[in-house]
Symmetry: C2
Subunit: 207 residues, 2 copies
DNA sequence: TCATCCAGTTAACAACTGTTCTCCGTAATT
DNA sequence: AATTACGGAGAACAGTTGTTAACTGGATGA
């Protein structure tokens, strides 16, 4: 099934990835709407016109970055939600989020920044992918015996609440990335308690 | 106490406000980090250099916009949280948020966009102001008999949860602003149930 | 009334932007 | 071995950007 790529296509993928990486780096200090095509190609060390061989515009590149960023988030979310949420498992979930932020800080920053950013197609792409994630989380929640008697749309409501909370928490960890361990611990405690409160709400939702 | 301003200072404030308004308008389709000083002055109909009489840079203007935007949010939040959260009062709170988004859509968009945006001083300003809001909400929550036996930091944790939830909800209403009434109703239902779930969590937090 | 102040103007600067067109070298195909 | 396909380079385009400097004219305060 795996078709061997020619030298040419391999090289193309390589520079394409270099463009994505460079863009992600530059986006740590600005928003996508101010990212210039020349800026990106300069960082890669390639001619400005080469950009067009890969992307129609920086907005197009942004959409590609959404796929990449949420691809890395995907397994993390599955792991986080899959077991039921006893207190100790919530703690483990928060640690998982913290670890993910440490592993892919630029991806997390990009998503937080562009989710409400100034480039419409990118916002749309993020919204779409997050909706798919919420559906996935919902399916995972449905397996849980605690979800007996829950309406379908209430499950989805809860799933969105969890997903949003994960993003808020990720963003907090990101801001505290360079901060002293004490501050990071404070964030951990805050996120853990908020998750717990939501879980308490879940357990007492009906009756 | 109110010192009468001279004709000169009045005019200055007027063009300053015109710059802020023009910037807010332009920011509906881009992020602050791509907002040009010339772009703003052009929209106002004033020379580019006049900008410097009011702001050091567009980042500086952004910080001023934060004050303005959160100034309008301030009374809304007070009204939203002040009474205890029985089910019908939550519905009223959600309606209040929806109304605020309709009244100040540009302010809401600006906050959502720049909270995690590419301009550090603006992020900092928003973070600061939101922290103050959370403190205020906490004080309001503390008055509630339901908060008996709650630890101080747990109250602040809950306050942050409410504030974040308000921003998420505001952003949802903003996206659905041009959508059919059916979609807006869907958002209302979602936000109401999420608020309720959090409140259920609150009621069952201890014991 | 007269000197001072100061918000806003005009002009000019080098540096940068996205985009087009033409060209090159080499991998891929025949 | 000959031909085509194509990722990338190079140069040039008009238009934009932030910032500096010197200037104007009307409100301000003595």
């Amino acid at each position: 099934m795996s078709h061997t790529l020619g030298i040419r296509q391999v090289q193309k993928q390589k520079t394409r990835q270099a463009l994505l990486d460079a863009a992600l780096g530059l986006l740590e200090e600005q928003s996508l709407s101010s990212l210039g095509l020349r800026e990106v190609t300069r960082a890669v060390g390639v001619a400005p016109t080469a950009f067009y061989r890969h992307f129609r515009s920086t907005a197009d590149l942004g959409v590609a970055l959404v796929e990449e960023a949420l691809g890395s988030l995907h397994p993390m979310i599955r792991q986080t939600v899959s077991p039921a949420d006893s207190d100790q498992r919530i703690e483990r979930a928060v640690q998982l989020i913290a670890h993910h932020v440490d592993a892919y800080p630029a991806h997390v920053r990009f998503l937080a920044r562009e989710r409400h950013g100034g480039v419409q197609p990118v916002r749309e792409a993020i919204r779409e992918q997050l909706a798919r994630f919420a559906e996935e989380v919902k399916a995972e929640l449905a397996k849980d015996p605690e979800s007996r008697g829950w309406r379908e749309d209430d499950l989805l409501m809860l799933a969105h609440l969890y997903v949003d909370q994960m993003l808020v928490t990720s963003s907090l960890f990101l801001e505290a990335q360079e901060a002293p361990a004490e501050e990071r611990e404070r964030v951990t405690q805050l996120a853990t308690r908020q998750m717990r409160l939501i879980s308490v709400g879940r357990r007492n939702w009906l009756g």
